[in-house]
């Protein structure tokens, strides 16, 4: 399956991926409307320290602890992509308790949000990858 891979060597720490992610998932048609004067809550997050930076988002694990642990059945695996049914999710955060990458975050509605590889938004393919100026995030098939 095609997954997102991050190479910290190439990451500039510019945070553009976070902005592209927030825009792609905003449901808005212009970046200005989506991002101006708002504190973004992206599904991909940069960690940075002492000159090192890298992006973290859902790894779409083959043995997804979040999905197996979800108390409601709101997290499901569809063709390898771990998806969230925000209507079903009650925001108990059991998935945050179990995700070893810290890749699941609360959303504004109380439900959680996570990377769904942009399969469920207007971008249709990972916006962070398309927006990364230095190819530090790629979307590819390995093995």
């Amino acid at each position: 399956m095609k997954r997102i891979y991050v190479n910290e060597k190439w990451c500039l720490g510019c945070h553009l991926c976070e902005y592209y992610c927030a825009f792609a998932n905003s449901g808005k048609d212009s970046m200005v409307k989506a991002l101006k004067n708002v504190t973004i809550n992206p599904r991909i997050r940069i960690e940075e320290r002492g000159g090192i930076s890298f992006a973290v988002s859902c790894r779409h694990c083959e043995e997804p602890l979040c999905t197996k642990s979800c108390i409601t059945g709101a997290l499901t695996v569809n063709d390898g992509v771990i998806q969230i049914d925000k209507d079903k999710c009650v925001g108990c955060y059991t998935c945050i308790l179990t995700c070893p990458y810290g890749a699941i975050v609360p959303s504004e509605t109380g439900a959680i949000q996570k990377c769904e590889l942009c399969m469920n938004n207007s971008a249709g393919k990972p916006a962070c990858v398309a927006g990364c100026p230095n190819k530090a995030i790629v979307f590819e098939e390995k093995e």
Partner: protein
Amino acid sequence: MSKYVIIGNSAAAIGCVEGIRQVDQKGEITLIASEPHHTYSRPLISYLLYGKTDEQKMKYRPNDFYKKNKVIKRLGETVTEIDKKEKTVTLKNGEKIPYEKLLVATGSNPFVPHMEGLESVKNRFSFMTLDDAKALDKALKKDTRALVVGAGLIGLKCVEGILDKVATVNVVDLADRILPSILDETGSGLVKKFLESKGVEFHLRDSVERFEKNKAVLKSKKTIEFDVVVIAVGVRPNISLVSDIGGKCRRAIITNNKCETSIKDIYAAGDCTESADCATGDMKVMALLPNAYMQGETAGINMAGGTKLYENAIPMNAIGFFGYHMITAGDYIGQTYETLEGENYKKLFYKDNRLMGYIMIGDVMRAGIYTSLIKNKTDLATIDFELIKEKPQLMAFSKKKRSEFLAK
């Protein structure tokens, strides 16, 4: 004849169906459960009362689940006996159902201790099942005075569910603090203060000496008038089907890492079992939904002839009240590191260069990174512990580890 028989219809049972079907698409599965409902998420009964979900949304799996997985369901039927020689289970009506492999996923029942005068109380409830929740809901009115006995996870989830629907909620518990099974003193204090600010009244280090119809007389001689009482002092694992036929049990059914009981071809999973805490090796009842599902799945895979081991379990919990969240995991032993800023509290427990447990209240972001340190028994000397103490982050791992996490 059914190849697989499953007793139960909750997280562990559903995990088992999904486990079996990963290996065996065809073998007949019969699933028997006392509760008559489509599989639902038990923890959601409080959210149902709170209005955060509804009966359709609280279904643990979609409407077509049984059909899709070719499961013969016998809902509303209770198993009274297992015959390990004949390999059959007997239903209440006397019908016998043969099995090749059996899963016992019977969960637990509310424990109601003897309390003087309890029988005289008309509106008394437990809080374990969808039917309990619906019955309780019917008894609640705007001017209801509710009394909840038990300040543990179930009692307080019930409090959250009903608080906005009633006039007053009083909570009585023998313990000196709330949520004693998951929180330390500081943590309990924070959550108690928060719940008090919402209008809940606590009576700790106290217990009900006797009920007199609509009045509870406490040991402290305080009296509490109420219209509805919920008893949530604890649960008892449903072990009798297995203990009656000589299966090894302590507090719960003892299972190994394949989720087998001590009886051949009988497996057990979920709240009715004891299994090993991978961080300490101790056998424990780790009654929570993720563990139930994963045990069930493991059992299912093994029942169908596959191989899977269940060896990553630790006690853990994610719970919240009115948007105030807490996540806890592991065992509270060893040295501690603590921070408290306003309503955000964190305590880490570490020993012999390993993280043993943690409590996070308020800010629970990325807690799972700590959970994985406990489960993986990560040697803290191989990461930047000072950094990860501050907050959970992948930066604290070596470059090589980070690349394994993110680039492979």
